[in-house]
Subunit: 205 residues, 2 copies
DNA sequence: GACGGCCAACCTACTGGTTAGCAGGCTGGC
DNA sequence: GCCAGCCTGCTAACCAGTAGGTTGGCCGTC
């Protein structure tokens, strides 16, 4: 909402990248203190408990994701292009170690040991992303730009799962190109299922 | 290799389910001590350090996975059936909270904070699984049972990513049915791409 | 008597969190 | 104009609890 102080902002950004690195139990207040150049107690001043901090990180991610999806909707009238732009965005993130995973996807893997407050935020992100992908795919099908092999919701769930799994594979292989390969395949299959089996030639085709 | 003592075995099983719950930093020796009914020091007797313990868990998982894939090869001559059996196996695991994730997939998400010894084991599992899926899909394509939209390796990478992502979605939604939905779609698309768009009628079709 | 399995007691480092308090900026009242 | 009062941002010092790990020794058995 209101713009928070730059220190709280820095703490959030730092916590975010630490979570992306190793999840909820993979970092401590001391880690943040070291990076931001502030004492542990000062972090507690901005975020009383670790739960508050992580929840704030996730909430911000959810907001930014919503804004990002809205921006994609605005800038890419063609649903196929919208999916490609979404993929490009994440491909760029995956290159940067501090950004190489979706905060919510990473936290989702640790849900059994996560505080409930964080779980609900993570869940809401999955719902929002699935909803958006469903709408994009639905629109693409209506316009004849995308070829679905089942209903849009199911197609969207497969898409989302594959994107998250691709982040995992990139990390496991230690090779960010793995992400791009998988996601490109995924989109090609949706966009050019019948006429262009392996590669898209030109956007207007 | 040689069958270890039942205590070491219990420790391994316990550590495994704890890792599945929250990853490398999501459990402690005290947690295991509580569940197995043994003192912390005794765990160190069997596994000198946490790295040794987790590496052993992953190594066992890799071995069991190899055995499982070999068994699927033996019991299911039809590659499409083999993929379905693989999916069924994991669908069953996902129902059980102590088994609801692939140990290697979960650890892969935390690679940046993992000791190198564990990382190499995790990586080798991803390679082995990708190799096996590639061989199954290749064989299915040769036999005309599967319809590929790209080369078998790429198809296998998409498949593996989607399966891992489906585990994540099931966890995020708190609904193990989400896993089955996604993976069923995924296989249907491979098996019955052209003649049965949404649902497989009978195995012999 | 050597060895495998186990444990009590202990260790150091670090965890998330609290407390009391300081410096500086902004306010209102005189 | 000035000062009291308050708020924000920050910190040193401290806390109890827990992390992974070590030591020395007990007990059975082969």
């Amino acid at each position: 909402m209101a713009n928070v102080s730059s220190t709280a902002d820095e703490i959030l950004r730092c916590a975010r990248s630490l979570i992306i690195g190793g999840g909820y139990n993979g970092f401590s207040y001391a880690d943040i203190s070291g990076v931001v150049g502030i004492r542990k107690a000062s972090i507690h001043h901005h975020f009383p408990s670790k739960v508050d901090l992580v929840r704030a990180v996730v909430q911000r991610h959810v907001e930014e994701a919503a804004a990002g999806m809205a921006a994609l909707d605005r800038h890419h009238p063609d649903p196929a292009d919208r999916l490609r732009a979404y993929a490009r965005y994440w491909a760029e993130c995956v290159r940067d170690p501090a950004n190489a995973f979706c905060v919510c996807a990473l936290l989702a893997s640790q849900i059994p040991v996560l505080p409930e407050e964080v779980v609900v935020e993570v869940r809401s992100h999955f719902r929002a992303l699935s909803d958006w992908l469903t709408s994009v795919i639905q629109e693409g099908a209506k316009q004849g730009r995308l070829n679905l092999s089942c209903d849009a919701r199911a197609e969207a769930e497969v898409f989302m799962a594959a994107v998250h799994g691709a982040m995992l594979s990139a990390r496991a292989y230690g090779d960010d190109a793995a992400f791009r390969t998988i996601v490109t395949r995924l989109i090609d299959r949706l966009v050019a299922d019948h006429d262009e089996p392996t590669k898209r030639a030109a956007p207007g085709a």
